[in-house]
């Protein structure tokens, strides 16, 4: 639009040349920014204590450590002796989630809680369970929260700013820190880790979903509203179909991230395969540790691939 200071036009003779605005030139500012960037980068490299020399002299040490990890020792993974099965329970009673007599139920509970997670396969399964449960619970909570935290669907400005504030605050807490808090609160084990994943994932998913909701085509919303539809109907017909691909791909992406996070949470005793890995390293069982690392890599690859295929299927 033409600014108010421009001479009034009569509409017959457009002033073509005067209309073309010059692209702004900001050489000096760009140069200053570049200088500042270099300075900050130098400062960071200095503070990070990068000593290429030490790295160079450390190479033999690294090679030796890797040498000690080879070949990976899979006995702990494959050796049936490390897997103890309670004799009084049949495999179907142990593995299927059907009701059993009370004494057997207690036995089963103990096996799942304490015995099985000590094995590599058990810890891997536990890692997957933690990631799945944490992600799923987070989705259940983040889904409504995403609508409350989106400018265009939030029922009230106060709710919008309130949920944003809480989400942004909670999201600044790393999941490892949350893990420490919940280990202190509910004790060692997968439960603490799962809540940590749940809380962190809720904040991330809530934020991503609210952005997805804000990016929808408002024209569709208006068209649905114009038919006389109410709030829920607008969400179901105009908003949901538009954000569904995002919901699915964000959730799968967080599931991948949470598998990795769940493996690391074991380092602080919050369940999962990280605990076993840590023990092996601490007790200098390098070959055993490398076997666990390989299992972990395999797990992550399988989950990444599975979620890639799922995404292709639905989006």
């Amino acid at each position: 639009m033409v600014g108010p200071s421009r001479p009034k036009r009569d509409g017959s003779e457009p002033d073509l040349l005067g209309e073309v605005p010059q692209p702004p030139r900001r050489r000096l500012r760009s140069a200053l920014f570049l200088l500042l960037l270099l300075f900050v980068l130098g400062w960071a490299l200095e503070g990070a204590k990068l000593r290429p020399g030490e790295l160079f002299y450390g190479i033999p040490e690294i090679a030796m450590t890797i040498g000690r990890m080879l070949p990976p020792d899979f006995t702990k993974v494959t050796d049936s002796k490390s897997y103890y099965f309670p004799e009084s329970l049949s495999p179907s009673e142990l593995f299927l989630p059907f009701p059993v007599p009370e004494d057997k139920a207690r036995l089963r509970q103990r096996w799942w809680d304490n015995t099985f997670p000590q094995t590599v396969v058990g810890a891997t399964v536990e890692t997957i369970q933690m990631a799945l449960a944490g992600t799923f619970l987070a989705l259940v909570v983040a889904f409504p929260v995403g609508f409350l935290a989106a400018r265009n669907t939030s029922p009230h400005a106060a709710i919008y700013y309130g949920t944003r504030l809480v989400l942004n605050f909670l999201r600044t807490i790393p999941d490892l820190a949350l893990g420490l808090v919940f280990v202190a609160a509910v004790g060692l084990g997968a439960f603490a880790g799962t809540i940590a994943l749940f809380v962190h994932t809720t904040t991330v998913l809530g934020k991503l979903l609210s952005e997805s909701v804000e990016n929808i085509d408002e024209g569709v919303v208006e068209a649905i509203r114009a038919t006389g539809a109410g709030y829920g109907q607008i969400l179901a017909f105009a908003v949901l179909p538009q954000i569904l691909p995002d919901v699915i791909s964000f959730t799968l992406y967080r599931l991948e991230t949470n598998i990795r996070a769940a493996s690391v949470l074991g380092l602080i005793g919050a369940g999962g395969i990280g605990y076993l890995m840590n023990t092996s390293f601490r007790t200098f069982q390098y070959q055993e540790a490398s076997a666990i690392v390989l299992v972990l890599i395999l797990l992550v690859m399988v989950v990444d691939y599975a979620s890639y295929r799922l995404r292709q299927l639905v989006v």
Binding site: P4, G11, A226, T227, G232
Partner: protein, 274 residues
Amino acid sequence: MRERVAMAYQYRLEKVGKVFGRRQIALARIDFVVQRGEKVALIGPSGAGKTSLFRILNCTLRPSSGKLWINGDEIESLHGRRLREVRRKIGTIYQQHNLVPRLKVIHNVLSGRLGRWSAFRSLASLMRPLEVELAWSALKQVGIEEKIFTRTDELSGGQQQRVAIARVLVQDPEVILADEPVSSVDPSLAASIVNLLIDIGRDTHKTLLMNLHSVDLALAYFPRVIGIKNGVALFDLSPDKIDDRLLEDLYSGHLPPSDQEKVAHAESNALAYP
């Protein structure tokens, strides 16, 4: 207080204006009355304010100034359920179609029923479409019934436009607002769609307002034509009184008017509503 005016009026507009942001004036001052069952075409250059006017007429956009009565109800007095009830009786065919691209055609068509359906029915229909015959017959009227289970984003522009028309047909409103309903179809189909909407309007006594870029269609099919330019109605006449000079005025100087002019005009009708 709700003011009652004679029930034969479908729409009554008094100095209706719309300002976007601080000074983007879409509508400066619009006054007109539309009787029930009347057929009116609106023409005018791009950016004249036709779409904004329709958004006000279907109660999804509040005017910044002036008054609007629909069927005797002053629009400012409507909220919640009553507002939705009024909206249900007004069907809009949007210039940009505004369909949900990822949904099947049938769901887009059936979204015209939402004003009548409960929340539960609506959800059920998303799982498994209800009232399929109704959607099918509406699609048949616009000639694309074979696309009923196709995903909407797989249709051509003209086919999508006809889905949008079918949505209004199943809504079965009292008023049809058609914003450029034939912009993406070929000329012969354009004429037959305008014809179809007029026929439907006549057979079921609907009020029909149509924005058209094609002056020929407007003059050929409508007994009343309103010319809109810079947010005001330049003329409001029957087609035989519209001559080339008027049309030239309407489309001449295809330049945005200076802002002082517009602002001065808008300030003269101080903003009556927030």
